[in-house]
């Protein structure tokens, strides 16, 4: 465990390294502990794959106060602290513009790509990039495909994509470099809905074929 300042009003706590689901699980437990029993002056926390960024008000707290408090919580956080993670099913039509490339790259038929993609419960490791974009994994080994060599300038909202061992859904139209294999009608982000975000870090997601 390492704690370092990232700015004069935020710090980062590393609970491990790389893309390790067990480490990521501990990140979500620590975030849940913070949400349940907040230290006044901590404004928000942001889970990454192996780290948690904690923002604080420097008029109220010092780095050392936040670091000591977090270090103690990181030691004591257990599965008991887990927030009620949701399980969400997402219907997908597998007809994305990169389905052919992914098929060829993996040596699978498009139907097999779709079948493999729908066979796993994915974990929301973290969120970012655009509001509501959930980084999920791990994609079955046979489906692992690198990013596009040249990112698209416009990816439509609702595009279902993979990149490396990750999968995700573009919540809003944005640029993007992931391989687009399908689309869904569900909205990961809808500002008029309460709550506006469908996914939260730590949730599990299953894609369902939508004929």
């Amino acid at each position: 465990m390492r704690i370092l300042p990232i700015t004069d009003s935020a710090l980062i706590i590393y609970l491990g390294e790389g893309l390790d689901p067990a480490v990521n699980r501990r990140v979500h437990l620590l975030a849940a502990t913070l949400a349940r029993d907040p230290l006044p002056g901590i404004t928000e926390s942001v889970p990454g794959y192996a780290s948690l960024v904690v923002h604080y008000d420097p008029l109220t707290l010092t780095h050392a106060q936040v670091a000591d408090w977090l270090a103690a919580r990181a030691q004591s956080a257990t599965e008991m602290d887990s927030r009620a993670a949701k399980h969400i099913e997402v219907p997908v039509v597998y007809d994305g513009p990169d389905l052919g490339f992914v098929s060829a790259h993996c040596g699978l038929s498009p139907a097999e790509v779709a079948r493999l993609h729908t066979q796993t419960d994915y974990i929301v490791y973290m969120m970012g990039f655009t509001p509501g974009f959930a980084y999920m994994g791990r994609v079955p080994g046979a489906l692992i495909t690198p990013r596009l060599a040249t990112p698209r300038t416009r990816v439509p909202a609702g595009s279902v994509a993979i990149a490396g061992a990750q999968t995700g859904i573009y919540p809003v139209e944005s640029p993007g470099g992931w391989q687009l294999i399908g689309r869904t009608d569900i909205l990961p982000f809808d500002p008029r809905r309460d709550p506006p975000f469908l996914f939260a870090p730590g949730d599990t997601v299953r894609f369902i074929p939508d004929a």
């Binding site: 700015t7 004069d8 928000e44 794959y49 780290s51 960024v53 923002h55 990039f129 509001p131």
Partner: protein, 321 residues
Amino acid sequence: MLEILSPSLITTVQDGGRRGWQAYGVPVSGPMDALAHRAANLLAGNPPHAAALEIGLGGAAFAADVDCLVAAAGSGFSLTVDGRPMRMWTSVYVRKGREIRLDRMGHGNWAYIAIHGGLDTLPALGSRATTLRATLGGDPARPLAPGDRLPIGPATRPLLDLAARHLDPGFIPYSASPEIAVIPGPQAAQFSPAALFTFHSSLFTISPASDRTGYRLGGPPIPREGISELVSEGMARGSIQIPADGLPIVMQADCPTMGGYPKIASVISADQPVLAQAPIGTGAIRFVESTLEAAQARYRQVLHRLDYGIMTLDSDEALWL
């Protein structure tokens, strides 16, 4: 209502920023120059984080359909009301229909117009800050256009009581070639001594490709040899990323919540407004090392001078009835 007569390249509504949603990927946004934004609000008799206009990278003109009290603050602009020069960093009583105009003057990029009562646009996720990249907030969530009309919140004090108050911004070291204090970033120790030396000893320019998301710097590339691959982690305004080409990017108000490039340093809060106002394209900046303790002490000091530095002008120069 406050009507946009002619906007600048980027005129948006900004409050103190949208907090509490970064775990879902929502940038904080808020003003590029938080000190000028706060000063304009305090001078206008508003809470410090009230929604105000941010005028960026060009002149702009506005008019209200009611008598109002406004305050303009920022760097690189001058203020006129119906053609008459008025002081910046000063509260001004403006009769309805008069043209409130900001023109480019001197060095700087961003100015704020706060109006007493605040801009009462529809909040999104608890904030009126406009996030252009996510088309969020702002109502409309886009740069403002001629003819846009923004609701003004109710007055809480008599407008004339608030007029002719001034704040001297001399304690904010705006400059065309500022020294910007930084503290080490979380990956600073992974950079070579030569890379750190280059970063701390070189002059950098601010590229015209800069925007509210990040300031891209021109100068000698920072070598990245020996830096291990990073999985995405949270970052924040002020974080200085070193991408593959070695040219630093300083994250600004619309900073994405996550990043995968190593962060060599972070601009201290007190100097973020100074960097934001350093001229894009022509400025030359240099980074100087500071410490976390010194950074937080400077931030407290700057806020104190801002919150307690307002004085009432003797003359009636800020009143134009």
